[in-house]
Each structure stands twice: as structure tokens, then as C-alpha cells.
Amino acid sequence: MLRNITLNHITKIEGHAKLDLAIDNGKVTTCHLSATEGARYFEGLVKNRKFYEAHEMTSRICGICSCGHVVAAVQAIEDALGFQPSAQTFRLRELLTLGERIRSHATHLYFLALPDYLGYESALAMAPTYKAELMKALGLMKIGNAIVKLLGARDLHPVSATPGGWLHLPSTGELRAVAKELEKAKKDAIATCSLFASLTHPDFDSPSEWFSLKHESEYAMLRGDFHSPRVVFECHKLHDFVREYHEDYSTANFVVVKGGRQYMLGALPRLNNNASQLSKDAKAMVKKVRLRLPSSNPYHQNLAQAIELIHAIDHAHDICSALEVTDEKPPKLSPKAGHGIAAVEVPRGTLWHEYTLDADGMITYANIITPTAQNLLSMQEDIKRVLPSILGKKKEDIVMDVEKLIRAYDPCFSCSAHFLEVNWDEH
């Protein structure tokens, strides 16, 4: 018996994706997960623009990850120009990225993932019963937003970061005020972890290799090597170990690591690789919720995000309570020919920006590889793997199970270039 299933709109993820399945006698013969967004052309848009324009333009790739795109672009341009930012500049970039991570994780966990687990269509339907939980979510989103606004001068698409430094600096007093709010938000992050630990996560082992940045002295976010349990790659050698390729059925590229292997990015791989560098309370929470690391179960991504919320709040608090802001003006960077690569850990995984500049500082080449593009093959192969065990279920339940798996990856298809309608033919 041949069954063809086409899932044209997969819900509660970012952007548009489609899944085509063909099943013959209980065997999956076709499984194509594809991003169906129109091509975005951002890499072409920044070509022949000045080096200091890249971050402003690429931040528009996505509102949710706009801070990550800004920081990645700025750091890649600085790499091309051979510029090393000050310690203060670096710490404030970390803080901006942490604000975005708190906001993104809280939103994804409560508004997109939790309704799946509790059997609701949406958070709106949950509101009367889960008021306390949703208020926690809103509080966490608020503090994340507050950090982004303070650093970036607006809540989306920050405008104050620039190659070399910051066009606008927060005052030390403003950082201290945020530190106090972070102290209050901490208990909500802890409660979020307890909540997600109490949920039943399906058992599943993905064969994907997990990758993230890793740095000797910190829970890596803006620097480090690209690391899995088997290999370590220097980020500058990106093209030696990462290969992008196109499939006719998808507008987004697929990405594999050397040897053609699928890999997984995001909060869980970061925990797998860097758990020993989590904050004290985040480490204690890993033990308390009995999350066995390393885990190759993508459904644990949500719990990993909840643990990262605690770490992000602790890390942001450390910065906000200790940094004495000095009035550093960004230096005027002289244009020169060069090539730069930056890798940044954004909520969904490792984001790559790469630029080549000519002697006048014009961008002659740009390459951006988003976490969702890198996770695409892993998601597709995981679906293929999980399907045989759920084929006996009703059509709607299969769709729900597949969506839940994809949502565990927290993908953002709008970055890579809605979610699951089923066309189902049985023969």
C-alpha cells in the first residue's frame, strides 16, 4: 500500500515549510522537508555595499534573531578588517545576545511548545487555566526585551551596534537597574525548568552529531571553535568542514559537515558540549531535573532551552552588576581588502556570517548560514526515523507528532530563506 502525504503548512514555527512523504508498505520511501519561503537574496543585497552597512541590512533577515545577525555581521566585518573590539564592547555584545536569547526561549517555550504538551491549540486557549505560567512567560519576555532595548536602542533590529563598538552606550546605572530585574526574573526561569521537566518527552534518539561553539573559558556564545564530541573545527576554516548543497524541492540550502554527515544545533547541543561551563544554578538544575547529558533526543531541546534561560539570566546579571561603563567611542575603521568569518550562538544554534571586502571596503562576497538551514537535514532524517513507529496513528495524530518533533528544533524557516497541511493519497 502506497501512501503519499504532503504537509504544506507546518504550524508554530517560523516561516513556511513543507513536508512530502511517501510510504510504501509501512516503509518511508520519500521524506522531503523543504523551506518554501521565497528566496531572500540578502547575500546579494549586501554586495557592493560598504562594510559598515552589512549588519543593518542583514538584521532584517529576521526580527526574532535580529540581534544575532547584527553581532555576527559586525564581528565578521571586524575579522575582515583585522580589528579586535574592546573588552567592554564584547561584554555588551554578549549582553545584547543574552537578552535576545531570554526573549526567544521564553516565547518559544510557553507560546509555541507548551500548548503541544498540554493539548491546547494555542496559548490563548490555555490562558484561563494557565494564567500563572503565562504571566511568567510575559515577565521573562519583558526582561529580555528590556535588555535588547537598552543595548540596541529598540526592541527589534538594534541600531546601536556597529563595527568597532557601540554608537550608544547604556549607563552603569541602567545596567544595575536591569540587574535588579534579572534577580526577580530568576525564579520564573527556575519555575520554567521545573515545568518542562515535569512534561513527558517522547523517547527518540537522533543519529545527528551535535555541534556548537566551544570556548575554553566560558559557555560559548560569541567566540570559540565549532565543536562536536568527535571533531573540532576552527571557525576560519568553515569551507573545509561545512558544505552547503541544494535540493530541487527546497528554497533553503541543506548543510552537512565533512563526510556528508547530518548535524544538530541549538540549546541541547550547546548543553551537550558545554554543560560544565553553565552557571552554578543552571548546572544544579541539570542535576535536579535529571537531564542525562549528552542527550541525542531532539525533544530535550525544550528542556535545554529552559536550562539555558537560567544560565542566560545569571550571565546577564553578572555583566549588568559588574560592568562599569566607560565612554568608548567606536574608532573610525579604515577600509581595506580582507575576508572575515564569524560564528555566533543564537537561540536556534550557530549562525555564520562571512564577508569579503575590497580595498575600498566594499562587500564583494557574502555568505550567511543560519541554524535552521544547518538543522534541516537532521529534522528531515529524524522525521524519516520516527515515522514507522507512528504510521498506525490517525492522520491528524501523525501530523501533530511530526510537527512536535520539528518544533522541538525551534526552526525559523523565514530566516533560511507556516506549517503542516497534509495531502494524503493511499493506494
Partner: protein, 142 residues
């Protein structure tokens, strides 16, 4: 009339410098021709404090018991006043890009944040001064 962007981390709890007796929360994207008329109209309103909102979640912190929102309404050919947020068409968010004003107002209601909310909806195009006169009358009614 005074204008205050909601800036800084306090959101809508930020101090307002306005002399106006009522706060009007204005939405719209100044970069989109079809979405910025509310901001233009707000410039012509008298005796109110304008709060330019960038994100609907800013309303969660609004201190007012009665919240008056000014925004453009696609398809409207005159100024309308809406006092029941359930009349707003909402959809389940399929992504984090979908948390719009209607969603947040319904979420506030679902969470039991019992505030009276009036939405003054204006057409996407027209003379800001003329529309402001009508909006002024709506504010008095609200």
C-alpha cells in the same frame, strides 16, 4: 499634546512628560505608507499624551484602567471605535512573528487583566488633520 516614545526598559511605565489628561497608545510603522497614518494623526490631537508603541506587549504595563489605542484598520473608510477585543480577528500564532495587537489584547483578556480597552481605528489613507478631529470626538466618548 506631547509625544513620548516608549523607550527604555520600563516600557509603558516610563514617565510621561505629557500635559494631556489622557494617554493614547499609538501603533503603526513609520516606514510603511499604509501603516503610519495613526502616527501622523496623533500629531494633530490636542490635550492628550501620545505614547508611540513599537510592540503590543508594551500594553501589558500600561498603568491606565482604560486603554485607548489608535491604529489604522485595513479596509476601514471612516473612523471607527471598537470596545470589544473579541471582535478582533485572531489566529493561533504559527510562529513568533505572529504576536500581533489582536493576539495580545485577547491574551490580556484571557489572563483576566480586566481593563477597558477602546480601539480607535482609522482608514489607511486620508487627511491627518480631518481624521484627528473625528478621533478627538471618539476620545471624548471613550
Amino acid at each position: 499634546m506631547s509625544t513620548e516614545s516608549v523607550a527604555g526598559w520600563q516600557g509603558c511605565q516610563a514617565p510621561f512628560r505629557g500635559q494631556g489628561s489622557r494617554r493614547i497608545y499609538v501603533f503603526g510603522n513609520e516606514h510603511l505608507a499604509e501603516d503610519f497614518l495613526a502616527r501622523k494623526v496623533a500629531e494633530h490631537l490636542g490635550d492628550v499624551t501620545i505614547v508611540n508603541c513599537r510592540s503590543p506587549d508594551e500594553l501589558l504595563d500600561a498603568p491606565d484602567e482604560t486603554i485607548i489605542i489608535l491604529d489604522v484598520v485595513k479596509g476601514a473608510d471612516k473612523v471607527i471605535i471598537l470596545d470589544d477585543v473579541t471582535q478582533l480577528r485572531t489566529r493561533s500564532p504559527v510562529s513568533m512573528h505572529d504576536f500581533d495587537l489582536g493576539y495580545f489584547l485577547n491574551l490580556m483578556k484571557g489572563l483576566g487583566m480586566e481593563k477597558k480597552i477602546y480601539i480607535i481605528g482609522i482608514p489607511q489613507a486620508g487627511d491627518p488633520k480631518v481624521i484627528a478631529e473625528e478621533v478627538g470626538r471618539c476620545i471624548k466618548k471613550a
